[in-house]
């Protein structure tokens, strides 16, 4: 062979080599159901199960609910249709929700309510909204606001009860309890997910432990355990398999981690050593046990140092700290719905003197409703642990899959959750995972939850369900 022949042969050889060069990767194995049967899946739960987001239930959130994402993957492995009580496109904004309107000069987000294309059909006897009914069959039984201790309350689905449950409760049986409804649906279900119990600590927490309303108390652990057992028993009575989720630690959500760090920084810069707040719900004056002094250095910062948590709802008021005034008290009183004439009595009951500087004097303390303090957090933590022990035991004794949302969200809060190079964290707005209410996930957050549940199901039942791609689901909608 001479060199010119070699030279001519070389490009041809290279082309030949290349033709066989492109590597091929096997397609993922087809989805299989393992020992589970996804033909009729029902989802039991609260706002998280319904797809609630941005402080409301609306069509986009419903379509991105984690049960809907699960059902879509189940379909690849024998799953059937999954009906949700969707709002119509004309009423796509459902209950209304918060949108991000922009940022103020300091970079703080400005939210505004969406009030068009709602699904409100009238008012309840107590003045709350009633939503457009959905009378067709549903697989998604997620009811925003429902607590474990509500599941056997007759009338919870009546016009005087929870409007989200009301719209799917048969008009012929308005007193049907959530438990009875679940029992009726479970009779034909082959697979279920159950994520109940978040509201049994959440209402207390988001109201800063300052409310005595029934929705804001902490459910006793024995009550919780009893009702959880009943729900799971009825779900598994016909041999259905399923997945149970635990209750996350509320102190890691942006609702409690957004305002405090900024406040701590500004107070430290101003040389303020500490604050006076109220704690709990009890009335009483400046020298009573409802006053509590906290050091500024005890406000939890972004790094997790410090204990006291300020609510997202305190954001408009923390700037008033150090100045005399009663605006924050007027706001709280208005929230109570009582006649305006009672406001002076309200101030007297708490011994508040609005001529004193807010938040730094015992006469005008910063209200308990905006602070989840260390004592209140301990109460919540004890209850959460009790609930989760019950839920984990149920999963173990019934042989069900367990999505330990408590462990998972602690990990997310500590180190974030990247998805294919996109940084997602538990930060408000910029973190992508939590919606504008600071509590409920965004579609991206729900997609990640769906993946974690799929992981638990695959592990328990030997199924091979594929994951969804979280990056195809949005974070917070920017203006």
């Amino acid at each position: 062979m001479n060199t010119s022949a070699l030279k001519k042969a070389l490009p041809a050889l290279a082309l030949l080599a290349l033709a066989g060069c492109q590597p091929e990767l096997d397609a993922p194995a087809p989805a299989t159901s393992g020992s589970a049967n996804f033909s009729r899946y029902i989802a039991v739960g609260n706002s998280l199960t319904a797809g609630y987001s941005d402080g409301g239930l609306y069509l986009e959130g419903q379509l991105n609910s984690y049960p809907n994402l699960l059902a879509q993957q189940f379909k690849l492995a024998g799953g059937g249709d999954f009906a949700q009580p969707l709002f119509t496109d004309a009423q796509r904004n459902g209950s209304g929700y918060l949108r991000l309107a922009g940022f103020d000069a300091s970079g703080s987000p400005i939210t505004a309510p969406v009030t068009t294309s709602l699904a409100i059909r009238g008012a309840s006897p107590t003045g709350g909204p009633l939503y457009t009914r959905y009378d067709a069959a549903v697989n998604n039984l997620g009811v925003p606001g429902i607590r474990m201790d509500n599941v056997q309350t007759p009338g919870y689905g009546s016009v005087a009860g929870n409007p989200y449950f009301e719209r799917i409760t048969p008009t012929t049986n308005p007193l049907e309890t959530y438990f009875q409804r679940v029992k009726r649906e479970a009779a034909t279900a082959t697979f279920f997910s159950s994520w109940l119990g978040n509201n049994d600590v959440l209402g207390y927490s988001t109201s800063g432990g300052a409310s005595t309303a029934a929705t804001n108390t902490i459910t006793r652990t024995d009550t919780f355990t009893l009702k959880a057992t009943r729900i799971i028993n009825v779900l598994t009575a016909g041999g259905a398999k399923g997945v149970i989720s635990t209750i996350p630690d509320v102190s890691g959500i942006p609702f409690f981690t957004t305002v405090g760090p900024r406040l701590r920084t500004s107070l430290s810069a101003a040389g303020v050593p500490g604050l006076v707040i109220t704690t709990g719900a009890a009335t009483g004056g400046p020298t009573s046990a409802n006053r509590k002094t906290i050091a500024v250095s005890d406000i939890r910062d972004a790094g997790g140092s410090g204990r006291q948590l300020f609510t997202l709802t305190s954001s408009p008021f923390v700037g008033l700290i150090g100045r005399p005034g009663g605006r924050v008290w007027r706001y709280l009183y208005a929230q109570s719905g009582q006649p305006a004439a009672g406001f002076p009595l309200f101030l007297t009951a708490f011994g508040v003197d609005t001529t004193k500087a807010l938040g730094v004097t015992a006469e005008n303390p910063f209200p308990s409703a905006f602070v989840l303090d260390d004592v209140e957090q301990a109460t919540v933590a004890t209850a959460t642990l009790g609930y989760n022990t019950a839920l984990r035991n149920l999963a173990a004794t019934k042989g069900l899959a367990l999505f330990d949302a408590n462990i998972f969200f602690n990990q997310v809060a500590a180190s974030g959750y990247g998805t294919n190079g996109v940084t997602n964290t538990a930060s408000y707005i910029s973190g992508n995972l939590f919606s504008l209410d600071g509590v409920h996930p965004t579609p991206r957050g729900y997609a990640i939850i769906a993946n974690e549940i799929i992981k638990a199901i695959n592990a328990q039942y030997g199924s091979t369900l594929p994951y969804v791609n979280p990056n195809t689901y949005r974070g917070v909608t920017l203006p």
């Binding site: 070699l6 030279k7 290349l18 190079g421």
Partner: protein
């Protein structure tokens, strides 16, 4: 290209020094060596000894000039853990080259030389819309090293040599998309030139008999540093301008030291066999840290964990002189990846790799033509979201499976005097 270089690059920037040759599978510094699995530390084949073992240069009989070039053709497939479509690279080629000139008295004990080589140039262009686009869409690294060399034969059997290794030219271009909520993806491009840096390359060569030779060489590390590179951000919403304000970046990429030993065996005057082991001190590469003049995202700094481990490469090759004019070669190598499980990045989609090579030289008088071809198979490698989460590396890389093959034809011309 070369992926190898890629690899080297370790992550994202300029990678390596020639040294990399060791840890980096695709060693392309000499066309004859390329056909023999990349061996050369224990041999004195030609002027490319300046790269493989400067100590052997004094034992190279001929003085001469040689130039070589290669074409790196990488083909990759990727399948994400989230999203099942198979992705392939937009095909691109890179053309590493090398140039050597050696001088000295015909019968003298010393030799002088100058070497120019491009051990790290890497270019990967991922498919539009691929799952890892928020980590990387494109990377293009170029580098040119210049190495003046002196070698001295202390005895007929023992010679030493060395010289400074100058990073004469280095350029990096990195691009990725930015995910911005409900907006279309933004895009960021980092483009910069590396500062000139100097390291060294030194070696000892010992040839106790006509049938056996031994070599040891060491190439020092170089910290490639890009200062005031340009940041270009496009398609981001004006409302978020303060989050995408960066215009300049600084970054340093440590290029590791390589220690090599080689053995040459010449059973007869037609057959030469070589065996090399390269030890690359990759563990120096712990993090890749960018500093920006203003925010890019929520901070003006970014840190990406690498935590590479030291790696060994084993090479075996030989040549046989068929006729006076024609010499044929074959060889292979096995590279241990310095990248640990859960730390694979799109810039360096690395895994253990196996290479096979062929080569030939036809010479007529003082001229010669070298041909070489390498086939590199980078093993299939999967990393899961769980591994990324457990390592704290989920924020900047992709869960999925990579498989890469590379074909590298090359040609060289040499003239001896």
């Amino acid at each position: 290209m070369n992926l190898k270089s890629l690899l080297l690059v370790g992550g994202a920037l300029l990678s390596g020094t020639a040294a990399s040759a060791g840890g980096f599978q695709v060693t392309l510094a000499g066309q004859k060596n390329n056909g023999m699995g990349g061996v050369g530390v224990g041999l004195s084949l030609d002027q490319a000894a300046m790269f493989y073992n400067p100590g052997a240069l004094a034992m190279v009989r001929e003085r001469g000039v040689q130039i070589g070039g290669n074409v790196t053709l990488a083909r990759q497939s990727f399948r994400g853990q989230f999203g099942s479509d198979e992705r392939t690279l937009r095909n691109s080629i890179v053309t590493p080259f090398n140039l050597y000139a050696g001088f000295g008295p015909a019968e003298g004990k010393w030799r002088l030389g100058i070497a120019v080589y491009t051990p790290f140039g890497s270019k990967l262009q991922y498919a539009s819309g691929w799952e890892g686009r928020y980590s990387l869409t494109d990377i293009d690294l170029k580098s040119v090293f210049v190495q003046p060399t002196v070698s001295y034969a202390i005895t007929d059997q023992l010679s030493i040599g060395g010289g400074p290794v100058i990073l004469a030219y280095g350029a990096v271009n990195l691009q990725k998309d930015i995910s911005i909520g409900n907006y279309p993806d933004g895009h960021v491009e980092l483009d910069g030139k590396a500062e000139h840096k100097v390291g060294f390359n030194a070696g000892v060569f010992f040839k106790p008999s006509d049938k056996l030779s031994l070599g040891v060489s060491y190439r020092s590390h170089i910290d490639a540093h890009v200062k005031d590179g340009t940041v270009t951000i496009t398609n981001t919403p004006t409302a978020l301008a303060s989050s995408f304000a960066a215009t300049k970046f600084d970054v340093t990429l440590p290029l590791p030291a390589t220690t090599s030993i080689g053995v040459g065996v010449m059973p007869n005057d037609k057959l030469t066999l070589g065996f090399d082991v390269n030890f690359v001190q990759w563990s120096r590469y712990k993090t890749l840290d960018f500093t920006f003049d203003q925010n890019l995202g929520t901070s003006n700094k970014s840190t990406s964990k690498r935590y590479y481990q030291d790696a060994l490469t084993f090479r075996l090759g030989g040549q046989y002189k068929l006729t006076d004019g024609l010499t044929v070669r074959a060889g292979g190598s096995y590279d241990n990846s310095p990248v640990k499980d859960g730390y694979v990045t799109p810039e360096t989609p690395d895994a253990d790799r196996v290479s096979g090579t062929l080569g030939a030289t036809y010479s007529f008088g003082k001229f010669g033509v070298d041909l070489s071809a390498q086939y590199v198979s980078i093993k299939k490698r999967t990393q899961t979201q769980n591994e990324l989460l457990n390592n704290g590396t989920s924020l900047d890389r992709v869960a999925g499976t990579y498989k890469t093959n590379i074909v590298i034809p090359g040609i060289g011309f040499n003239y001896n005097f």
